[in-house]
Symmetry: C2
DNA sequence: CTTGGCACTCGGTAGAATTGAGTGCTAACA
DNA sequence: TGTTAGCACTCAATTCTACCGAGTGCCAAG
């Protein structure tokens, strides 16, 4: 529903230094203990030299303003989504541990193979780095132009349309016309098709032959099959790594189930990531992304740019109390490596 | 480790009628209550007219022989893996509920698209039918012969090998030679390649040209890339449906995590299914399949045959106390439909 | 061989008591 | 006016106790 807590706009950063310190201390502490945090530990931990009583009175203010919440009267405070939001907005960006930096470097130095394989393995890497579930979304192929299109004769009644795109993607689509065709007819149609489609993209309409012979019919079938394939080209390339982490990182079977159920719907995951990017965010916390079943989650995204054009994204999904600094650093580093890896001046090693 | 409890071979079916009835009652009851079952409910439920005391004494025998176990002294009995094994071995095959039969029929009547799409959707179907996690393994493409092979010029230093197989599968592999090539050279190499590879399979070695010109080098690169792709062809086609069911159906976060971790490794899942089929089993219970992390699971498999040749399998993964009859029926029906769907005399509707 | 009877076991539940982390408030202090 | 020590209060969590009862194993009689 609501995209962003709107009071944010009205009075951004309306926290004085001490409140900020306290809030950050609470969030940090809660992130690594998973427990409500009390005034005394904050008074001790943060470098403010005040008593717990002072902290306490600040906390009631923070609670009144919606940054903190109390599970019950005699418990410590827990950050709200708004609290987390403040925390990440004021997070000085961290760096990856050297061991992990090395792991990323090694990975990208040695990774080989088709784009899909690289992306898949990247998602595994990212999830290992962070122990959160990772998402890697490939670029949309919609704008790529066709370099080659051919019709292959499987048997008299089954043909396969294979199209190769300028970005190196390949799609296939089976064509089952109502009539039989000879080898020669198919080969002929294949040639016509190739001539017709080369240089076009999936978005452009092409002029199909209107003749009534078999070849023309084949060509028409093929072209419409191809354009029907467009949604496939947009959807098919999301890779999810470490879904088992969901069971480690969330508590409550019900939450685990809900999150897994979302992850199963890959299209939905793609649009989730896209939505967050469109909002210009790099982190979506709790209900900010509007997907109710993920209200216990935070999602970190980092766009992948190839030659300054958007070309997909990497993401991490964890509980709202995730380790933002490390996770954001990991996502950024990996996305940067990925961008470089696919940049025009390609791999040398 | 041990494939099958070996006492099975020594004395198969060594249970008299009454023991069998009791064992079956215990298993059935435990399957739908998830509780240890006591002698009295067995005495009441089964159609044997004996007192609970008698049942009790039979139960100690069944426990001594390893079919049942007792969580603790004053609790009812729970089936062991061996108990479940007996149960499924003596299960008269069930039939699907009519609603579900209809669902399957409708599904296969309306499903369209490429093989991969059909398999993927089938895995979703299977998991919806049973509320267990499903696995659909596609056929190995290793024996298919090549109908077409071409080299497409992406840019002077990057080419894409695209091969189409007789079973309708397509693979691509990028070729990055150390030298630049002109459009014409690539087209030429593509022709040579096509001539060279048509009719061969991935298993057969082909004679590559030994000349030293660019075209020959391209052809050599392409051929070796193709043969390197063989493992890909074997692995890449497993579809897992309803992994979120894992969180519904197992209790204990740890179990959920372990099972999900296994499911992430798709190659492992393929060999699991293959192993079970190789043992000639249709169900593997607990430790029978030798995958320790899955010792709390039962796996049901049903082979898919296309024109009497093995062509993949469908499977279901649930807790050992799963609803075997229904799940086995679902797996069988779906595998049968799938077989028919891909049979040579193809879809008419 | 079966069965009713019986003592016994032991996990689960319910209630009461206790603990203690943490709060909010207030009065005094700088 | 902001800060703090002190204190009463709250309430989840823990511990303890008692007890219940489902279920067993055993035995002696049918």
């Amino acid at each position: 529903m609501a995209r962003r807590t709107d009071s944010n706009l009205a009075a951004p950063d309306d926290l004085d230094a001490r409140k900020a310190t306290i809030l950050e201390a609470v969030v940090a502490e809660h992130i690594d203990t998973a427990q409500p945090v009390g005034s005394s530990v904050v008074a001790a931990s943060a470098d403010l030299d005040v008593s717990s009583a002072t902290v306490r009175s600040e906390m009631v203010a923070l609670e009144r303003e919606g940054y903190l919440a109390q599970p019950h009267t005699s418990a410590g405070r827990v950050p709200t989504d708004k609290g987390y939001r403040y925390f990440v907005d004021h997070l000085k960006s961290g760096v990856l541990g050297t061991a992990q930096q090395l792991q990323v470097r090694d990975f990208f130095a040695s990774v080989r193979g088709e784009v899909e394989d690289v992306l898949e393995q990247t998602s595994t890497l990212l999830s290992q780095l962070t122990s959160y579930t990772s998402v890697v979304v490939g670029a949309s192929h919609a704008h790529a132009s066709i370099l080659s299109a051919q019709l292959v004769n499987l048997d008299p009644r089954h043909h396969l349309l294979v199209a190769v795109f300028s970005d190196g993607s390949v799609i296939k689509h089976s064509i089952v016309p109502t009539f039989e065709s000879t080898h020669a007819e198919v080969a002929d149609a294949s040639q016509q098709l190739n001539a017709l489609l080369i240089g076009t993209s999936l978005e452009s309409r092409v002029q199909v032959p209107s003749r009534h012979d078999n070849e023309a019919a084949l060509v028409r079938d093929a072209v419409s099959a191809l354009h029907a394939a467009q949604p496939v080209m947009d959807g098919e390339h999301v890779f999810i790594g470490g879904s088992s982490k969901v069971a480690e990182v969330f508590d409550g079977v019900e939450t685990v189930r809900k999150v897994l159920a979302i992850l199963e719907q890959e299209l939905l995951v793609v649009s989730l990531v896209q939505d967050i990017l469109d909002q210009g965010l790099s982190v979506a916390i709790g209900s900010e992304h509007g997907y109710e079943p993920l209200s216990a989650c935070a999602v970190i995204v980092a766009p992948v740019m190839i030659d300054d054009a958007p070309a997909g994204a990497v993401g991490l999904l964890g509980p709202t109390r995730m380790k933002y600094r490390e996770a954001m650093a990991a996502a950024e580093v990996v996305s940067r490596h990925l961008s470089r890896h696919f940049a025009a001046d390609d791999d040398v090693a």
